[in-house]
């Protein structure tokens, strides 16, 4: 049954590529996303029925609490992105478009290939979440890179090609390093075990510690490249800013989490082997480094889509930090992953709308959005408050939980740096976003701006749903959800 979660989008994706009929492709996308959501809910119900064992499935494919968390996030975001995509393709497909930044004309990728790759992207990300074997996990993560590269070059021009090239090469090199980590893990297991998570965790005490440390380091650098941890993040701002907005949503909200799952699996094995401090401290170090560097780049940023990309690097840093600290902070990190994906999805969709109407990615040229695009302007403002961790949104709660976890373990220096980085990012993003929403336009620009474009439902509906999700998480976390997140946090610790 679990295999359906992977096979359904994979088969539909291949079908969409083979049969290039316009209406069929969009229909397949709708069926694929809805069907995926349904199978995931079904699997979640099956998993929640269990009391004794932590996971369902076999030695290769299985579902545990952390896997279900990331799978659920992926599925919800994909459904939102699918609605957006169907509307977006209706507007963009088959046309020659004038470039927003430089004014040249370019064509778009064939729709059949785009939809096919999107569905395959969903299939490979699901496989990452379902893998119970480090080798299979590696194959799946590498496959996500390959099927998502054509998504970045939907707009066929030189900037998107540059971004796709960097993405392909840097991530492939990174993931080759993760493969080295896998082989090191096999050396640690004296070459006898196949790299199943369960057998590795059960036999953790007998693993060779020297090789195990080397293996985690390689997994962290390898999957960290894909996750966007500083200093391996260089592909991320380019890919996120050049891809169409719903692809940025999927990259930022779903793909980065999936890469993080690879690191979490390694961390779980080290924790089970009694070396959780080693891997935890590395995660804290890279987490803080990512947050601080993201803050520096957001302060200097003029492009609002790149600003969102650097914000993703910041939040991946927070996730690594929370998991590294352990205890309560780890549960906080699980909640953070959920709220960040919802919020960032909404923000990228708003950014796509702003880009379409204002024809620029430079924040300084977008003014008075609340007047010209009342709904987008409002969502953009709410999204800014949410992503910077202001109440009453979900990220406020999760960032506070991580802070509490840091203080509870007496890590004062870490907590201080964490707060300084969060504060700096709040101020820097306020300086970029508030003038975009409230600022008065130049008089001559104002005259040209009289037209108020219609805000289409295909964009507004998914963005609103994602936004409401993060708002609800900030106001009320159901006890069942909290218990589920705690269980996910516990299972990362190798139990």
């Amino acid at each position: 049954m679990l295999l359906c979660i992977v096979l359904l989008p994979a088969v539909l994706g291949l079908l969409a590529m083979i049969v290039p009929a316009k209406s069929l492709g969009r229909g397949l996308l709708a069926v694929g996303s809805a069907g995926h959501l349904a199978t995931v809910v079904f699997a979640a119900v099956a998993l929640s029925g269990l009391k004794t064992v932590g996971w369902i499935g076999g030695t290769w494919i299985g579902l545990d609490a952390p896997g279900l968390l990331f799978l659920g996030i992926t599925s919800v975001l994909f459904a939102a992105a699918a609605v957006y995509t169907i509307g977006y393709l209706g507007r963009e497909a088959g046309r020659t478009v004038r470039d927003a930044e430089e004014g040249f004309l370019f064509g778009n990728e064939p729709e059949a290939r785009f939809i096919g790759c999107m569905l395959l992207f969903l299939a490979t990300m699901s496989l990452v979440c379902l893998s119970r074997d480090l080798g299979l996990l590696w194959v799946a993560v590498e496959a996500t890179t390959l099927v998502s590269a054509p998504l970045i070059t939907f707009h066929r021009h030189h900037r998107s090609l540059e971004a796709a090239w960097k993405y392909l090469l840097i991530c492939s090199v990174g993931i080759a390093i993760a493969l080295l980590g896998n082989f090191f893990m096999a050396y640690a297991a004296h070459g006898r075990l196949h790299l199943g998570l369960d057998s590795l965790t059960a036999d953790a005490a007998n693993l060779n510690p020297v090789w195990l440390r080397a293996a985690f380091l390689m997994l962290l650098v390898g999957y960290g490249t894909k996750m966007g941890l500083v200093p391996m993040h260089t592909w991320l701002p380019d890919a996120h800013s050049e891809a169409p907005s719903m692809i940025s949503t999927l990259l930022s909200g779903a793909l980065l989490n999936c890469a993080f799952l690879g690191i979490l699996r390694g961390h779980g094995i080290l924790t089970a082997a009694g070396m959780g401090d080693f891997s935890g401290n590395l995660l804290v170090f890279f987490g803080l480094l990512s947050m601080i560097l993201a803050a520096v780049f957001i302060i200097r940023q003029t492009d609002y889509k790149r600003m969102l990309a650097y914000s993703s690097i910041e939040h991946m840093g927070i996730l690594a930090l929370g998991v590294g600290l352990g205890g309560l902070a780890r549960t906080g990190a699980m909640l953070h992953a959920l709220s960040h994906s919802l919020t960032k999805g909404m923000l990228f969709m708003c950014a796509g709308q702003l880009l379409y109407v204002y024809k620029t990615k430079t924040a300084a040229d977008v003014r008075h959005a609340l007047h010209r695009l009342p709904f987008t302007g409002f969502l953009w403002l709410a999204g800014f408050l949410a992503i910077t961790g202001s109440p009453p949104f979900g990220l406020f709660l999760s960032e506070l939980t991580i802070l509490k976890g840091a203080l509870a373990t007496g890590r004062w220096a870490v907590a201080t740096l964490y707060l300084v980085a969060l504060g700096a990012i709040f101020i820097a993003m306020a300086r970029i976003i508030l003038p975009m929403v409230f600022g008065r336009p130049e008089p001559e620009a104002a005259a040209a701006d009289i037209t108020r474009p219609r805000e289409a439902l295909w964009y507004a509906a998914p963005a609103t749903v994602l936004g409401l999700g993060t708002l609800v998480l900030g106001l009320y976390v159901p006890p069942a959800l909290w218990e589920f997140l705690s269980r996910a946090a516990l299972q990362i610790g190798g139990r």
């Binding site: 080798g135 194959v139 390959l146 066929r156 090609l161 492939s172 493969l179 096999a186």
Partner: protein, 214 residues
């Protein structure tokens, strides 16, 4: 038969130096093919007498993908974008070889604690594999042409694979096949992207892809 293993690893090291020293893309591709040949036989030499069918399948698949399909794809890409040689790399060819010698020494030093933890292996396997991995990285960062960078990626992948070769006796076949498939598709997708880049820009010099930065 450690003597065979050591000879094959010597083959890896020598091909690495040739990869660092040559500028012609065709020579690079041919050398890579030679390296793949040496690489695919390492698991066989390590297995000693116990040769199973799945081991033979693995050796055959490695030979077919790394020694046959990938060089073919690269040659095709080379013809399509009409690039013959790497001109003016960031790090000159003779300097590359000198750096390569230093990296080889470094590989021996780095792998010493790991080799001590795994006494059963040939003493040259770990340094040889690490040297190949680092040579690939060196090629990626020091060359301009996108195609040369793909070759660097494949050399790096060869190095990683050499680490795995010692384990090929025990690793599940499914995973090994998945790895080979992924590498093949990676080069396929990279090839398409290079073709698009050359059509859009009239060159494949990656240092001139520099519009996106902060």
């Amino acid at each position: 038969m450690t003597i065979w293993t050591d000879l094959l690893i010597l083959g890896l090291v020598l091909t690495n130096f040739r990869l660092l020293a040559s500028s012609r893309l065709l020579a690079l591709i041919n050398t890579m093919m030679l390296q793949a040949l040496a690489l695919s036989f390492i698991p066989l030499s390590l297995a000693g007498g116990s040769i199973s069918i799945r081991l033979l399948v693995l050796v055959g698949a490695t030979l077919a993908v790394k020694g046959g399909l990938l060089p073919w794809l690269l040659r095709r890409a080379m013809r399509e974008v009409d690039v013959q040689r790497e001109i003016e790399p960031f790090l000159g060819f003779s300097s590359s070889v000198l750096v390569g010698i230093a990296v080889l020494g470094l590989s021996f030093i780095i792998t010493r604690p790991l080799a001590e933890a795994t006494a059963s292996l040939s003493g040259f396997l770990l340094p040889g594999a690490l040297f190949t991995t680092l040579t690939g990285l060196l090629i990626i960062v020091s060359r301009r042409k996108a195609l040369t960078q793909v070759i660097g990626y494949l050399v790096m992948e060869n190095g990683v694979y050499a680490f795995g070769a010692a384990l090929a006796v025990e690793q599940p076949l499914l995973v090994e096949m998945g790895i080979l498939l992924d590498v093949f598709v990676a080069v396929f997708v990279m090839g398409i992207t290079i073709y698009q880049i050359s059509r859009e820009f009239d060159h494949i010099d990656t240092d001139r892809l520099s519009e996106l930065k902060d």
